[in-house]
C-alpha cells in the first residue's frame, strides 16, 4: 500500500509542478508542457518495452519518431494525382526494383556455395541493380519534384483523416524496425547501439534529402488537425458566449480549448498503450521477456527463441515510438526534418526511462512527464539563476553577458547531472521495477 501511496504522491508532485506553471507563467504553457509530456511518455513506454522488458539497447529512437512524422504527411496530405501520373508510380517501381536487388543479393548469399562465383554474382547483382534503380528512379524524381516546387513537389498524401496517421506512423516505424531488427539484432549490445544510432541518422538524412517524399528540408506546413482551428472558434458566437460565461476572453479561451483537445486525445492514446504495456508485462509473454533479459543463455536452454522474441519486442517498441512521433507532428502541424536532433529525441527519452525506472511502465510515464517539465523549465530557471549570480558584476561586462547568453545551454548540463545522479544513487529509478 505504501508503495502505491508513494507512487501516487510522485505523480501528484509532477501535476503540482504543472499547476504551479499554470499560475506562475500561463495556462497555455502549462498545457503545452502536458501535451509534449504525454507524447514523451508514449515514447518512453516504447523505449521501456525494448530496454526495460527485453534489455535491448536502442539509441535510434529519433529515427522511429521521425518516421511517425513522415506517416502524418503521407496519410493526411491531400492526394496529388498530378505527381502520381508524372512519376509517382515510376518511383514506386524503382523502389521495388531496389528491394528486388537486395532480395536477390541476399538469396544469392544464402543459396549459393561460398566462393569466388558467389562473390562475383552478388557483386554483379548489386551493381546492375543499382544502375537500373538509379536509371528508373532519377527521371521520375525529377518529374515529381518539378511540379509546383515552391508549394509542393512531393507525391502528396492519401487525403485521409489525420487521426488515421497515428496508427499508420506506428506501422511505418514497425516496418522499418523489422528490417533493421532482421539485420542488426544478432549483434551484441554495443554494436546494436551503434547500429541503431546510425540508422536513425540515415532515416533523417533520407527525410531531409528526398524532396519527392515529404519536401525534405523545405518542410511540410499546415498539416490537417484533428481539433478545430482557433480562428473558427473565435468566430463562433456560441463559443464566445460560453467563454465569456467562464470569464475568459475568446482568444485565450480558443487556444486553451484547442490545446486541451489535444491533451484529451493524447491522454486516451497514452492510457490505451499504458494498459496494453501493463497487460503485456504481467502476461506470460512479459515474464518470458524478462527471463530472456536477465539470462539469455538460460532462456535459450528453456527453448525460448531469443532472436525472434527480441525482434518482436524491437518492432513493438519502435511502433510505439512511431505513434508518438506521428502525434507530435500532428501537434506541431508541420514536418520539419531539420529539427530532429539525437540529443533531444533519443538520449532525452533515455534519460526519462532511466530516471523514471526502467522496467516499470508507470515509472517511464512519470520520468517522461518530470524530465520534460525540467527540459522546458530549466531554461528560464537557468536565466534567473544566472541573473542572480551575475548581480554583483558591473552592467555591460563581457562575462556577465556571456553567462546570461549561455544560460540557454544549461538544460543539457542539467539532464546529464540528473542522469548521473539517478544512476549513482537510485539506479532503479523513481518507481523501480517490481
Amino acid at each position: 500500500m505504501t508503495e502505491t501511496v508513494k507512487n501516487a504522491a510522485l505523480f501528484l508532485g509532477v501535476a503540482a509542478l504543472v499547476v504551479i506553471t499554470g499560475f506562475m507563467q500561463s495556462w497555455n504553457s502549462a498545457i503545452l508542457i502536458v501535451n509534449m509530456g504525454l507524447i514523451s511518455a508514449i515514447m518512453a513506454i516504447g523505449v521501456n518495452l525494448q530496454w526495460g522488458f527485453a534489455g535491448l539497447f536502442n539509441v535510434g529512437v529519433m529515427g522511429f519518431v521521425a518516421l511517425g512524422g513522415l506517416a502524418v504527411v503521407l496519410v493526411s496530405e491531400p492526394l496529388s494525382p498530378e505527381a502520381w501520373s508524372a512519376g509517382g508510380w515510376g518511383i514506386v517501381l524503382a523502389l521495388l526494383l531496389g528491394a528486388a536487388t537486395v532480395f536477390a543479393a541476399v538469396m544469392a548469399t544464402r543459396r549459393m556455395p561460398r566462393g569466388r562465383t558467389r562473390a562475383l554474382t552478388i557483386l554483379t547483382v548489386l551493381v546492375a541493380g543499382f544502375v537500373i534503380y538509379r536509371a528508373v528512379f532519377d527521371p521520375n524524381v525529377m518529374a515529381v519534384e518539378a511540379i509546383n516546387p515552391a508549394a509542393a513537389g512531393n507525391i502528396g498524401g492519401l487525403g485521409l483523416p489525420v487521426l488515421l496517421a497515428w496508427p499508420a506512423g506506428g506501422l511505418l516505424a514497425a516496418g522499418a524496425a523489422w528490417l533493421i531488427g532482421k539485420t542488426a539484432l544478432g549483434l551484441r549490445s554495443d554494436y546494436l547501439a551503434i547500429a541503431t544510432l546510425g540508422i536513425a541518422e540515415i532515416i533523417i538524412a533520407v527525410m531531409k534529402n528526398e524532396d519527392w517524399l515529404a519536401r525534405g528540408v523545405k518542410n511540410v506546413i499546415g498539416l490537417p488537425r484533428p481539433v478545430p482551428y482557433e480562428i473558427d472558434l473565435q468566430n463562433d458566437p456560441g463559443f464566445v458566449e460560453s467563454a465569456a460565461s467562464l470569464g475568459l476572453d475568446p482568444v485565450t479561451a480558443s487556444t486553451l480549448y484547442v490545446k486541451f483537445g489535444y491533451s484529451v486525445l493524447f491522454m486516451v492514446v497514452l492510457l490505451v498503450l499504458l494498459w496494453m504495456a501493463q497487460m503485456a508485462l504481467k502476461s506470460p509473454w512479459g515474464r518470458m521477456m524478462r527471463a530472456i533479459r536477465d539470462n539469455e543463455v538460460a532462456a535459450e536452454a528453456m527453448g525460448k527463441d531469443v532472436t525472434r522474441r527480441h525482434l518482436q519486442v524491437f518492432v513493438l517498441g519502435s511502433a510505439v515510438c512511431g505513434i508518438a512521433g506521428a502525434m507530435m507532428t500532428t501537434l506541431d502541424g508541420q514536418l520539419t526534418p531539420g529539427t530532429y536532433q539525437p540529443l533531444r529525441f533519443t538520449f532525452l527519452i533515455w534519460v526519462m526511462v532511466i530516471v523514471g525506472g526502467s522496467g516499470n511502465n508507470f515509472g517511464a510515464v512519470l520520468g517522461a512527464m518530470l524530465i520534460w517539465f525540467l527540459w522546458v523549465q530549466v531554461e528560464p530557471l537557468g536565466l534567473w539563476l544566472m541573473n542572480l549570480i551575475t548581480i554583483g558584476l558591473p552592467e555591460g561586462s563581457a562575462l556577465k553577458s556571456h553567462l546570461i547568453d549561455s544560460a540557454a545551454h544549461m538544460r543539457l548540463l542539467t539532464m546529464g547531472v540528473i542522469l548521473l545522479l539517478v544512476l549513482r544513487f537510485s539506479p532503479r529509478g523513481l518507481i523501480p521495477e517490481k
Binding site: D190, E201, L419
Partner: protein, 336 residues
C-alpha cells in the same frame, strides 16, 4: 584519354581529402578502441571529449593570437594544442574519479557504463556549449595552402590543379607522429606493456601485480591526448562547431568497429577505410571519368553514387557488411 590530369583530379578531390579525414578519424577511433580495450565499454562521450579538448585549444589560440604569439606559417593552434591536451586530461581524470570509478569498483555491466557515458556526454556537450557557444568558431591562421591550385598548374602546365591545404598536410604529419608515439609507448614502455596485458587478460594482469587504477589513469591520459589532437586537427581542417563533433561519433565508432574494437592497428585501418569509402561514394566522378573516357564518351551526369548528405549511410553500410561477414573486424578485435 588523359591519365595525368585524371590522376591529379583524383588526388585533389578524393585522395588528399580522404587521407586527411582518415587520419582524423583514426585518431578518434584510437581513443574509442583504447577505452574499449582497457575499460571495456563504448564511450559515447568521446565526440564531446574531442570537442572539449579542441575548445580549450581554440580559447588558448585566441589568447595567443591576441598577445601576438604565433608560429609564422604554421597555425597558432599547434602551440595551443598542449594546453588543450592538459585541459582535456584534467577533465577526463575528474570524470573518471567522480563518475566511472564507482561503477568499476561495482563491476557494473558494460551496458550500464555505456548509459553512464551518455550522461557524461550530456554534461560535456552542455559544458562546451556553455563556454564557447553552439556556433562555428574560426581559429585557423598561418598559410592556407602548401600548394595552391594555380601554382600547381603553373608549375606543371597541367589543366587540372592540385591544392594541398596546409591543414591537410599538418593533419597527416601530426597524426603520424601521434600514432608513432602511441605505438612506441604501448610496445616499448613498461606502462604500455602493462596496459596491453591488462587489455588481453585482466585477471592474469592483476595476478602479476599490475595496478589497475594506474593502467586506467594512463589510458585516460592517452585518450585525452588523442581526442584533443583529433579534435584540433578536425577543427583546423574544417571548422570548430560543437555539434559536428557529436556527429563524428558515428564514423569514429564505425572505424573502430570495422578495424576491430580493442585493436589500435585496426582503428587506424578502419579510419582510412571509412574515410575513403565516404569520399569515393559521395564524390561526383564526372571530371575524373571525363579525362579517362575516350573522346565523345564522356559521362553526361555527375556520376555521383550518393549525395554527400548520405555520408553517414556509407559508414553505416560498411559497418554492417563487416559485422555480418567478419564480426570481430578486420584486425581481430575483442568480442565480449
Amino acid at each position: 584519354m588523359d591519365i595525368l590530369n585524371a590522376l591529379v583530379a583524383l588526388s585533389n578531390f578524393v585522395l588528399i581529402p580522404a587521407i586527411a579525414y582518415g587520419s582524423q578519424l583514426a585518431l578518434g577511433a584510437l581513443g574509442v578502441t583504447l577505452i574499449y580495450g582497457i575499460l571495456r565499454f563504448s564511450n559515447f562521450a568521446h565526440g564531446d571529449t574531442m570537442a572539449f579538448g579542441a575548445m580549450i585549444a581554440v580559447l588558448v589560440t585566441w589568447w595567443l593570437q591576441s598577445v601576438g604569439i604565433g608560429l609564422g606559417p604554421l597555425p597558432t593552434a599547434l602551440l595551443a594544442l598542449p594546453f588543450g591536451i592538459l585541459g582535456c586530461m584534467a577533465l577526463v581524470l575528474v570524470t573518471d574519479r567522480m563518475v566511472y570509478r564507482f561503477y568499476r569498483e561495482q563491476k557494473a555491466k558494460p551496458v550500464i557504463l555505456v548509459i553512464v557515458s551518455m550522461g557524461v556526454m550530456f554534461i560535456m556537450n552542455g559544458l562546451v556549449r556553455f563556454i564557447i557557444g553552439p556556433n562555428d568558431q574560426n581559429f585557423a591562421d598561418g598559410t592556407r595552402f602548401l600548394i595552391s591550385a594555380r601554382d600547381f598548374k603553373e608549375m606543371t602546365g597541367l589543366e587540372e590543379g592540385l591544392a594541398i591545404k596546409s591543414t591537410q598536410a599538418l593533419t597527416v604529419v601530426v597524426a603520424v607522429i601521434a600514432v608513432a608515439l602511441l605505438f612506441w609507448f604501448l610496445n616499448k614502455t613498461r606502462t604500455g606493456k602493462s596496459m596491453r596485458a591488462y587489455s588481453d587478460n585482466e585477471d592474469l594482469a592483476l595476478l602479476s601485480g599490475i595496478n589497475p587504477e594506474r593502467v586506467v589513469m594512463y589510458t585516460w591520459l592517452i585518450v585525452a591526448a588523442l581526442a584533443t589532437t583529433a579534435g584540433v586537427l578536425y577543427g583546423l581542417d574544417k571548422s570548430f562547431k560543437p555539434f559536428v563533433y557529436f556527429q563524428l561519433l558515428l564514423p569514429i565508432f564505425a572505424s573502430a568497429i570495422v578495424g576491430g574494437l580493442g585493436s589500435p592497428l585496426g582503428a587506424i585501418a578502419g579510419g582510412f577505410v571509412i574515410a575513403f569509402s565516404e569520399v569515393t561514394v559521395t564524390y561526383a566522378w564526372k571530371k575524373v571519368l571525363g579525362y579517362l573516357a575516350p573522346a565523345g564518351m564522356e559521362p553526361d551526369g555527375l556520376v555521383q553514387l550518393l549525395s554527400t548528405d548520405y555520408k553517414f549511410a556509407v559508414s553505416f553500410v560498411i559497418l554492417l557488411i563487416v559485422l555480418l561477414f567478419k564480426p570481430t573486424g578486420l584486425f581481430k578485435g575483442k568480442a565480449v
